[in-house]
């Protein structure tokens, strides 16, 4: 393996952990776990509230990994962000479709439409951290660890890439789950 896992996080709509250790989150109202996690992280980033669920998930998983990294927010080009999932942006696609379905309530929203692309989550993480490196999104039938690690390995074909945030970020029809790793070129 040409890369080593430095740190990893796991976020669902019920719990969060870093390196396998549960991350304490203040009690949340039903359906509000991601917001409660955001508050427990003590992150001041109001853009979070504009994000769709897929971007929130990826954003929180990345914050859990990067919150203790130093230095932070220094512009850098050697970190790639590579995400995978099964359902692309379908969660937001369905919500957007509802705004154009009926003539009498036809009101397409540009801010919702922008999130009908799965790779927006990679952009959100890049913006937050000033990562100018590669950002990529792949859609797969299932979370196949072998296929994913092969694709992440190939991201290091870009000789400028030294690290990568690699994640499975899935949000659709009751599933809400992110597994993210920070990996480093050996």
């Amino acid at each position: 393996m040409p890369y080593a896992v430095k740190k990893y996080s796991h976020v669902t709509d019920k719990q969060a952990s870093v390196n396998g250790k549960p991350f304490p989150v203040a009690a949340a109202e039903s359906g509000q776990f991601l917001t409660a996690l955001y508050r427990s992280l003590k992150v001041d980033y109001p853009k979070f509230f504009k994000m769709d669920a897929l971007s929130k998930l990826g954003f929180l998983a990345s914050e859990l990994i990067l919150m203790d990294e130093q230095p932070r927010f220094t512009p850098r080009e050697d970190v790639a962000i590579i995400c995978f999932n099964r359902s692309s942006s379908l969660d937001t696609d369905v919500a957007y479709q509802a705004t154009i379905q009926h003539e009498e309530s036809y009101y397409p929203s540009p801010s919702a439409f922008v999130y009908t692309l799965p790779n927006i989550v990679t952009g959100e993480i890049a913006i937050r951290n000033k990562f100018f490196g590669e950002t990529s999104f792949y859609v797969c039938r299932e979370r196949d660890a072998q296929q994913m690690s092969q694709t992440v390995e190939q991201a290091f074909c870009d000789k400028h890439t030294r690290m990568a945030l690699a994640a499975w970020v899935e949000c659709f029809e009751g599933t809400c789950e992110a597994f993210m790793e920070l990996v480093e070129r050996r």
């Binding site: 512009p75 080009e77 962000i81 099964r86 359902s87 692309s88 379908l90 696609d93 369905v94 957007y96 479709q97 154009i100 379905q101 003539e103 036809y106 397409p108 929203s109 540009p110 439409f113 922008v114 009908t116 692309l117 799965p118 790779n119 927006i120 990679t122 952009g123 959100e124 890049a126 913006i127 951290n129 000033k130 990562f131 100018f132 490196g133 590669e134 950002t135 990529s136 999104f137 792949y138 859609v139 797969c140 039938r141 196949d144 296929q147 092969q150 694709t151 390995e153 190939q154 074909c157 870009d158 400028h160």
Partner: protein, 389 residues
């Protein structure tokens, strides 16, 4: 190294690469008034595939027309034509399919759409249908990276082939227009009510387009053919600035270009095929990035005036047309361009010119702040025959 072994384009301008290339060469555009479009309130200028011809051509290819959406038929037809040209058996275990699409069959989310199983809304399902049509059992790769997807799919092909796992990669980009996509771009006020005018001072937005485009890449293993188009290098970089607007300073675009410029001198570039969507922001951003990269003097063109912006297909389609232009020693003009911006001087091509240079760069940018650039070369030398040791 990897080389284009076969390609195909299905668009408003034709169903073969030659048909499309000849149309572009003669200055035809496939963009026209398509109003009324699926019951939307505003008129639409777009480039659309002839549905009847698509169905008929698919029926000629396969009696199994049921069970495939128009998007899937277009993709299959395009791959089939490219494979026939490349003379490659796509069922082989050493062949990988890579799909590039932003929205796939998203139109099926409309409650009035019936007749297809729900699986078709998943991009991986569409990719499997395409691969399985050709008897290929490998799990296909699906790239969905907004409007740079077509470049990312080619970079993925390069990585998969060069790391040795496969001998051939089938890259297929496909996008069809739906109320979903059109209403979204209308809500963003990104569409021009007229023919788009890339890089023009009076540009007023983009035109959307439909296309399926396929490239069969082969790993050359040191045996490149004379005249063959080689994909030498590719880079993906993010603006880290805004999810729906490009960086004013062209951060990601510039960084992607700078990586390619480690491999080629600006003077050796026949042309740069820009993204050139004809929105105010995109084209300014590209002009800034090109100037910062020291590429202002290089010939720049955009193909959006011929095909519209074909989203997930654009990177594949425009790479094919550009590679064919280079093979024909031609630099294609930018349809719709008349007068550039004084503040951001660029060498935008407005009439077809001759070139003997052998490199070109393909640029793309997309939502999520992503940018990609590809470096192609026309191989001018035949590999010397191998000597036995």
């Amino acid at each position: 190294m990897i080389a284009i072994a076969g390609d195909n384009i299905i668009s408003s301008l034709g169903f073969t690469t030659d048909e499309n290339y000849r149309a572009v060469e003669s200055g035809q555009s496939g963009v026209r008034l398509c109003s009324p479009f699926v019951g939307l309130p505003e008129p639409l200028m777009a480039s659309m595939i002839d549905r009847e011809r698509l169905s008929d051509s698919f029926a000629d290819l396969s009696p199994r027309a049921d069970g495939y959406t128009m998007l899937e038929k277009a993709a299959i037809l395009s791959v089939g034509n490219a494979a026939a040209q490349a003379q490659v058996d796509l069922s082989g275990a050493d062949v990988l399919f890579i799909l590039s699409s932003t929205k796939g069959n998203v139109h099926l989310l409309d409650e009035n759409e019936k007749g297809f199983s729900r699986d078709h809304i998943y991009l991986w399902h569409t990719a499997r249908l395409i691969a399985e049509f050709f008897g290929n059992a490998n799990e296909p790769l699906v790239v969905s990276n907004a409007c740079i997807s077509g470049a990312c799919a080619q970079i993925a092909a390069m990585r998969e082939l060069e790391t040795g796992a496969y001998s051939y990669a089938v890259v297929v980009g496909v996008e069809m227009l739906s109320k979903f996509i059109v209403s979204g771009f209308q809500s963003l006020k990104a569409l021009s009510p007229e023919m788009c005018r890339p890089f023009d001072v009076d540009r007023a937005g983009l035109n959307l387009g439909e296309a399926a485009a396929a490239i069969i890449y082969r790993r050359t293993d040191g045996k490149e053919e004379a005249g063959e188009a080689l994909l030498l290098h590719g880079a993906i970089r993010n603006d880290a600035n805004h999810i729906s607007g490009p960086s004013r300073t062209g951060e990601g675009c510039l960084r992607a270009l700078q990586i390619l410029l480690q491999e080629v001198a600006p003077g050796d570039l026949a042309f740069i095929n820009a993204h050139g969507t004809a929105t105010a922001y995109n084209d300014s951003m590209e002009a800034v990035a090109l100037a910062s990269a020291g590429l202002s003097a290089v010939s720049v063109n955009s193909l959006k005036g011929y095909f519209g912006h074909t989203l997930g297909a654009a990177g594949v389609l425009e790479s094919i047309i550009s590679a064919h232009a280079l093979a024909n020693e031609a630099v294609l003009p930018t349809h719709g361009f008349k007068c550039g911006e004084k503040e951001r001087p660029l060498n935008v091509v407005d009439k077809i010119t001759h070139t003997e240079k052998t490199f070109f760069i393909k640029m793309l940018s997309g939502f999520g702040g992503c940018n990609a650039a590809l470096l192609f070369k026309k191989n001018t030398k035949r590999t010397p025959p191998c000597h036995t040791q």
